[in-house]
């Protein structure tokens, strides 16, 4: 199918979508300032920038979720006014949100037809057979293998995402916005997603792809627009960019040494896990972590990495196995026990498990360590607490208005620094980090890598769970790979090999017998 492209008098192609001079503030805080964006049909357009750059807000304006304060939006050359998500959908604009929000107790096809159920003209009753049929046809076209009758809540995140994309296509959308679609899906699923995006592109649908993952942007996107601090920075063809220039455009400075790895002496064993088992989740996990070492836990999503560290931290019960801290057996039945043994866990999902979003920066920072700030164990010494909070804000370069700003209003990277500060204030011996850089921007990532390396240098034991291989390779002294709840490989830094680690993560015991290219 070919799409007629209109051409303006200047001979330049008129883009399908044109946003101009878009400004927006929330409660007096400017989030977008005179931003522009042009997207053509059949184009995959990366919208990139650090967290807090305004990408999501710009897209939420396009999708009718937020209202712009100033600016104009043209669709196909016509000025449009998008006042609600409904209006946006009518204009052919759909958004796949980062955090999917389907009605979990309804079936897949009920979700797809939510709000526009086909019904019998005679009885005004929903025609569920038609719903199912149309869903099946749609899935067939898009090569999605999900049962229309399945309950939405039973699907994996990747499947839900596919259903959402199918839903967008069923609305006959011309523009589909994807907000960090790969933040919670595995490599194989990413490949499937990219296939789907290519399919959309071939249909002449424009895809606006919000991401800060370089690999993805360069794999899938035709054009790249960079925002920074709520301002428009640059738009270019993807091939005109290289990684370093893109990063420097995003951050506004050059990032050298993303991984400031220093060689530290490997000290005695501080954390020893032996035969840790949780039936059906992970089995017979044993490893040792040393003082001054960064130990990586790699593996695919669902391999049981988070479950292992959460068990060590006492958030989950185990069916067997022992944990030793500094050579002595530690009976850890709750996070409080773990904290008492000098263990900290920086959880993977900071909004769910890490922070109290309605509380202030100060209250979050001091929470783990509150007893130390209290007289008679109860009465908080506010002066000391305030002073410490201010010091921490400075030390971690937490971008907050003041110590009283609610954490929920900060950007992802800043929030993660609050989590780090909160745990490090307690001066733990063993620091477990679960996906410490998920969903945060390059600048903040570099800072967090720096912090991790420094911690190892000062003799802390670091255990880091990560799905990002570059991060594992860049930071860790040793990596243990999990597959289906079992250890499937262990590599010293000198033997690090991306391919072997991936093989182990896919279930190949050591990878040693595999023939490598190189």
């Amino acid at each position: 199918m070919t799409i007629p492209l209109s051409t303006s008098s200047t001979g330049q192609m008129e883009p399908y979508l044109r946003m101009e001079g878009i400004s927006k503030s929330f409660g007096g805080v400017p989030v977008l300032d005179d931003v522009k964006l042009q997207v053509n049909r059949g184009e995959v357009h990366a919208l990139t920038g650090e967290n807090g750059a305004g990408k999501s807000t710009l897209m939420k304006i396009l999708a009718g979720i937020h209202q712009k304060d100033e600016g104009r939006i043209y669709l196909n050359g016509n000025l449009v006014d998008i006042r609600s998500p409904r209006e946006a959908i009518r204009l052919g604009i759909s958004m796949i949100h980062q955090e999917l929000n389907p009605v979990r107790d309804m079936t897949v096809c009920q979700n797809i037809f939510l709000g526009r159920e086909p019904y019998s003209r005679l009885t005004r009753v929903v025609d569920s057979r038609k719903e199912k049929e149309q869903t099946r046809r749609l899935f067939g076209e898009m090569d999605i293998s999900v049962e229309p009758d399945e309950k939405m809540g039973n699907l994996s995140v990747a499947e839900m995402q596919m259903v959402e994309i199918a839903k967008a296509v069923s609305y006959s959308s011309n523009i589909i916005i994807m907000d960090e679609p790969t933040s919670a899906i595995t490599g194989k699923e990413v490949a499937k997603l990219f296939e789907m995006i290519s399919g959309l592109k071939a249909k002449g649908i424009a895809v606006i792809y919000i991401s800060h993952k370089m690999d993805e942007i360069f794999t899938i996107c035709d054009t790249i627009t960079v925002l920074r601090d709520g301002r428009y920075i640059d738009t270019r063809q993807a091939k005109e960019f290289d990684r370093d220039t893109l990063v420097s455009r995003m951050v506004g400075r050059e990032i050298k040494d993303l991984f400031p790895k220093s060689n530290t002496e490997r000290g005695p064993v501080t954390l020893e896990v032996e035969g840790l088992t949780q039936s059906g989740v992970f089995d017979n996990i044993s490893f040792k972590a040393h003082k001054g070492e960064v130990l990586g836990l790699s593996g695919l999503m669902g391999a049981g990495r988070s479950e292992v560290v959460e068990t060590i931290f006492g958030l989950r019960g185990s069916d067997g196995g022992t944990i030793r801290v500094n050579g002595k057996e530690a009976k850890i039945k709750s996070p409080a026990d773990a904290i008492r043994h000098g263990v900290a866990l920086i959880t993977d999902d900071r909004k769910m498990k890490g922070l109290n979003l309605t509380a202030s920066v100060r209250d979050n920072i001091s929470l783990v360590n509150l007893k130390a700030f209290s007289r008679f164990g109860q009465v908080i010494r506010l002066k000391k607490e305030n002073q410490t909070a201010d010091e921490e804000i400075k030390k971690f370069r937490i971008k907050a208005r003041d110590r009283y700003q609610p954490v929920g209003t900060l950007s992802g990277g800043t929030q993660q620094k609050v989590v780090l500060s909160k745990w490090l204030l307690n001066n733990p011996e063993i620091i477990i980090l679960d996906e410490p850089t998920r969903g945060i921007d390059v600048g903040a990532k570099a800072e967090i890598y720096g912090i991790i390396s420094r911690l190892a240098e000062t003799g802390k034991t670091i255990v880091m769970v990560s799905s990002e291989l570059p991060e594992i390779l860049g930071l860790c002294d040793r990596v243990i790979v999990l597959y289906h709840g079992r250890i499937s490989g262990e590599f010293e830094r000198k033997d690090f090999d991306q391919e072997r680690i991936i093989k182990a993560a896919m279930g190949n015991p050591d990878g040693a017998t595999i023939h490598f290219m190189n």
């Binding site: 929330f26 409660g27 007096g28 805080v29 300032d33 005179d34 937020h66 920074r228 301002r231 428009y232 920075i233 640059d234 420097s248 951050v251 506004g252 400075r253 931290f313 958030l315 709750s334 996070p335 409080a336 773990a338 904290i339 866990l345 959880t347 769910m352 498990k353 890490g354 922070l355 109290n356 979003l357 309605t358 509380a359 209250d363 001091s366 929470l367 783990v368 509150l370 007893k371 209290s374 164990g377 109860q378 009465v379 908080i380 506010l382 370069r397 971008k399 909160k422 600048g443 800072e447």
Partner: protein
């Protein structure tokens, strides 16, 4: 407009030091906005008092204002506890019934010449404590919804009060007991003195103690609180115990003030207590709320009832106005905090 030439700008630095005068003005406005959204409810109270003072001169007399305080003291005591409960993302529907049970039990030990005053007081507070502890255990340990547990307690405690008294009010209370509700200290009614003490205690507990901080943590994000090493179950149990004891205090104050204890005392008070907390900015989602806000909420309800009484507005109409104010207050609160 800034141009994208800020390659030299170091991100993460504090920019406050280099604000232009225009920026500074905007920052001032922003601060004013934050100030207003934080204290808007206080302005509303002042405005309400001012309007009533103008249209009804007898309203703005010391005697009447003290009377208002006395009128709201029982609801106010309950509302302080309710605020703490709601901050944990819970709710306590049983306070009115616990109040009644505490009142009849206390009163039954308060006949003249029977026991020293301390006995009925301890019985009243103890009854509240036991009911509150039961609420807390069921909510924290069995993971039942606070709404369900306290709805059950609301019905059961009322029933216990009726069983205990065979449905008849308890009369003939000692002078010492009656003094709690009818006496004065330095010209201020004792119920008001007790209310003020409860307020100060509540402020101290919520804003100056570890327990208070944990209350906010549990309400804001229970899982994160748990990960931070807080025993969230213990906090929840203590919170409902606190509310139960305060219901006991309210029961003693109310029965001693009316010099009798009916098993029907305090019916519907739980909703007034919730209303005061909500008008005062406490979020039913948990994690947000202050005692001072709740006190202002209780004052708004009290001032309005009293003012409308003085203007001879029927109590039927008063209910409509009260309902409208509850919704309006939350609406304004939401608006001022922005939809973002």
């Amino acid at each position: 407009m800034e141009t994208p030439t800020d390659e030299l700008k170091v991100t993460g630095n504090d920019t406050a030091a280099v604000l232009s005068p225009a920026d500074r003005r905007i920052e001032k406005l922003r601060r004013a906005g934050r100030f207003f959204s934080k204290y808007g409810i206080y302005f509303a109270l002042v405005l309400l008092v001012a309007v009533l003072a103008v249209i009804s001169p007898p309203f703005f007399t010391a005697a009447n204002l003290i009377d208002i305080l006395r009128q709201i003291s029982v609801i106010g005591i309950l509302a302080v506890g309710q605020t703490v409960v709601i901050i944990t993302a819970g709710i306590d529907l049983s306070v009115g019934s616990i109040l009644a049970l505490s009142a009849v039990m206390a009163a039954s030990f308060a006949h003249p010449g029977q026991y020293p005053l301390i006995v009925p007081l301890m019985v009243g507070l103890g009854a509240g404590l036991v009911c509150g502890a039961l609420n807390g255990f069921l909510i924290a340990k069995s993971k039942l919804a606070p709404f369900i547990v306290t709805l059950g307690m609301m019905t059961a405690a009322r029933g216990m009060a009726l069983v205990y008294t065979s449905g008849r009010p308890v009369f003939n209370l000692s002078n010492a007991y009656d003094t709690i509700g009818t006496g004065y200290f330095a010209g201020i009614p004792l119920p008001v003195v007790i209310f003020v003490m409860v307020i100060l205690g509540g402020i101290f507990l919520l804003h100056y103690t570890r327990f208070g901080r944990y209350v906010y943590a549990v309400g804001g994000n229970e899982l994160a609180a748990k990960v931070s090493g807080i025993s969230t179950e213990k906090i929840l149990i203590y919170v409902y115990i606190l509310q139960g004891v305060l219901a006991g205090v309210a029961g003693v104050v109310l029965s001693s003030r009316v010099m009798s204890a009916s098993p029907a005392l305090g019916e519907g008070y739980e909703l007034d207590a919730i209303a005061a907390a909500v008008i005062g900015g406490t979020s039913l989602m948990g994690g947000v709320g202050t005692i001072t806000g709740t006190v202002v909420g209780a004052l708004i309800i009290g001032v309005m009832n009293n003012g409308l009484d003085m203007l001879n507005v029927s109590s039927y109409w008063q209910q409509i106005v009260k309902g409208a104010i509850i919704v309006l207050a939350v609406l304004l609160d939401k608006k001022s905090k922005g939809k973002a």
